[in-house]
Symmetry: C2
Subunit: 487 residues, 2 copies
């Protein structure tokens, strides 16, 4: 699947009118939510919320003026893509606790007029979702077509289904889990220790020109390893040296993989606030949708259709964690689909496997319609034509079904090669004598499921597709069977 | 397999008389090798060298006076254990570059009388092994029964087979690889960055009372995660909190796994030199036994029997890395055995699965003998006994074969229940009339393979085991088939 771009976009800001009561008991006032919106205007049931991962932001698609790269999920958001801006209104917000425009520890505390720093309250995934919910309500959006997210975005997505059952009709959870595992907590703890033991951290009250960059950079380098797979590292780096051919027998950076990680660390400190890193990783550690040790019990009140996706080589959020969600939902009779995406990219696969994501998420969000697979502008013939002319058209255009049109272009019948054979046997010459009249037809926006029902019920092998009285396409049972094989 | 302890031990020190020419081109003089020795005195072909992992040392077994815990591989070294001190001389040395008694960056440079610090030359796994080789030669040990090691110890073991073909007759490589992967290099690089970005590191010239402990502690915490498995962390920690029951919504240590890792970090800085950590991880990064991209080519000159072991849940040195060694050795016709040890412990499994390690390494080093499985002190009967007495003994002792002895206790024949049946049919009463004379026997120290050959060749189902003319045991084909099933 290819698709277009949403073009130039800007991040907008909304200040919540409602105070947010956090899971910790603290209350946050005047929360700013940074957000971006793409595609259709929001309307009843057409809005999709996109949730980002640890280091993501509200800039999910399109270009910011002057930037070289588009938003973080541009491959999946846009006209004709899975999150189809021709059909839906797509909204992405930055999480609270973050540092990309939404209120977080680097923001100014309205009470003190100073940055919150370590006084910012600890937030949870539930709090992030509660802020998104308040934001949507204040934007007069009272339901969602879907919530979609990967990694920490997938946690938010699943948390949405628990906190606001029925608000979102579809939930897409990619490369995530129903709770954080001890390994997640372990990596989170080491990342935080790297920042908090950096003398520049100063208890969280660092100055803008002397931040705990060493600690944040270390945290990012380590975390980055967990986003890759053994396989992808073999492929991407192997044991290659960076800009040299022989070992230096010293401690300078020399392997490509070292150089890459150090670059990741250095560039991350340019764009991320160390305190935000603490708050967000802590929110991940706390994430746990089990209730009395049971994920089924935790998901009991959900009311949505679920799509759960995992990545085959993801060892940070291995497929078994997604399968636990699927099993929990199945055990309580919820509507859930699951696919393990085959990819060598590890956890990062959810951001890199655009084709598979577009196909799987696209089919879940937007079931195929007749328009998606019909033969467009099929050959037709006028009712006054001779049988010989109809036969000639069939042979030339290699079709077996030929819609027959009135002089004004509307459908008056259909003729098949079988009819031609009958005509030869019966010595007819004019089409009008042999064609089938009162033909069944289907509209282009009917779902394939509905079209298939008609073909089945009447034992026919092709349907003209009619729009505004005119024949705009043909749908054959052969095409439908190809689709069935692909799914 | 259980076994005894080697008891109280001390670390000894040997100064190499020979300068060591390193892979980097540098030369090290007056290298001290810290070592321990257990069991028999070294003699031709009875000595086993044990190689340690990153943070290990020469204290592999037994107790240091005043210590609470024995050496790091006490479960596998000792009388009756796989590295059987009743049979072998076991030697363990500390690697050069280390900080447990062998010369490393914290040692005094004989040229300057000051600590080497960052002036210590970068060493490689090959250099570690070369130092061990020189040490053994200076100890007048000119061959080895085996070299055994796990993780970085496995690298040394395999490197031994390449550098000194034929010196060691057996090579045991556990939870290791034929080269370091980009993921190993990545984790190594982040660990070193943690130390080298700690302001207390001071270019490697830190003082004894202000070491880069924060950096070393971070490096250890991160590395420790890689030694565990997802599964073992679920089991050991789950999402349990440490000494509390509710979330604190702050950044204090609160999950058990956090507390454990921080403890690991804190205790590591008490016992390890930060510069040594740099040198040893760098040696691991450089480790690569492939030649022209081929491990087979790199291992071509080896001349030993190999045992390769991997741990099923080890994601740092996954089984595929061991299998690559096995395939390389197989492809060039070398003698290699391989087992994937089923264990939930991850990489640490090689230190924790004592029973499996004892069984697998023990059988490789010391093939089973008749003495290991024979029925000891089996029931016997005198040649002058009646058939009825023989039958009564068989029934009472539940055996089917009864060695028949002369008055002086030496073997004169054997009688079976089948003979008894024949006797009843033929109306005999005395044993002498029906027993089989000229009985085949086997000695207790024959290998099971040799005993099995006799049973097979003569189509018999039991063999008396004879020592110094007396019957000391019985070996049955039933026992042998049990062993075959176990292997």
């Amino acid at each position: 699947m290819t698709g277009g771009s949403v073009g130039d976009v800007v991040t907008r800001y909304h200040t919540l009118q409602t105070p947010l009561h956090l899971e910790s008991g603290a209350v946050l006032n005047d929360i700013v939510i940074a957000y971006e919106q793409y595609g259709c205007s929001p309307a009843h049931g057409n809005t999709i919320l996109v949730c980002h991962a640890l280091s993501g932001d509200a800039h999910a698609a399109g270009m910011h003026k002057g930037d070289k790269h588009p938003g973080w999920w541009d491959g999946v958001i846009g006209p004709g893509k899975a999150l189809d801006t021709d059909r839906y209104c797509i909204i992405a917000t930055n999480v609270i606790g973050g540092c990309k425009g939404s209120t977080g520890p680097a923001a100014i505390n309205p009470d003190t007029k100073l940055p919150y720093g370590p006084d910012f309250p600890v937030i949870t995934i539930r709090d992030m979702v509660a802020a998104q919910h308040t934001f949507l309500i204040e934007q007069e959006i009272h339901d969602l077509y879907a919530v979609v997210g990967g990694s920490m975005g997938g946690m938010q997505s699943l948390q949405w289904s628990v906190e606001y059952p029925g608000f979102a009709r579809r939930i897409v959870v990619i490369a995530a889990a129903g709770y954080s595992t001890p390994m997640h907590i372990a990596f989170g703890a080491v990342g935080r220790a790297a920042i908090m033991t950096d003398p520049a951290w100063k208890g969280g009250r660092y100055s803008a020109d002397e931040k705990p960059d060493r600690g944040l950079s270390l945290a990012r380098m380590m975390a980055h390893i967990t986003y890759l797979s053994d396989q992808s590292m073999h492929k991407k780096f192997g044991r290659r040296l960076q800009e040299k051919t022989e070992y230096g027998y010293g401690f300078e950076t020399e392997f490509s993989v070292e150089s890459y990680l150090k670059h990741q660390g250095r560039s991350f400190v340019q764009r991320f606030d160390p305190n935000s890193y603490l708050y967000i990783t802590k929110a991940i550690d706390y994430y746990d949708l089990t209730k009395n040790g049971s994920l089924s019990e935790g998901l009991k009140e959900t009311d949505a259709k679920f799509l759960i996706l995992s990545v085959s080589t993801d060892w940070l959020y291995p497929p078994y964690l997604s399968e636990e969600i699927v099993m929990a939902l199945n055990s309580i009779g919820k509507d859930v689909q699951y696919t393990e995406v085959m990819s060598g990219f590890g956890h990062d696969g959810f951001l890199l496997e655009d084709d598979q994501m577009n196909y799987l998420i696209g089919r879940f969000l937007t079931p195929l319609t007749v328009a998606d697979i019909m033969i467009r502008d099929p050959p037709t013939i006028r009712g006054c034509a001779t049988i010989r002319a109809a036969a000639a058209t069939m042979i030339e255009r290699e079709v077996n079904h030929l819609p027959v049109l009135h002089a004004d272009g509307t459908l008056c019948g259909i003729v098949t090669s079988w009819d031609i054979a009958k005509a030869v046997a019966g010595e007819h010459t004019m089409l009008d004598e042999i064609m089938t009249k009162n033909v069944l037809s289907v509209s282009a926006d009917a779902t394939l499921r509905d079209a298939a029902k008609i073909l089945d019920k009447y034992h026919i092998s092709a349907l003209p597709v009619v729009g505004q009285g005119k024949v705009v396409g043909m749908l054959t049972s052969e095409q439908l069977s190809h689709i069935a094989e692909r799914r």
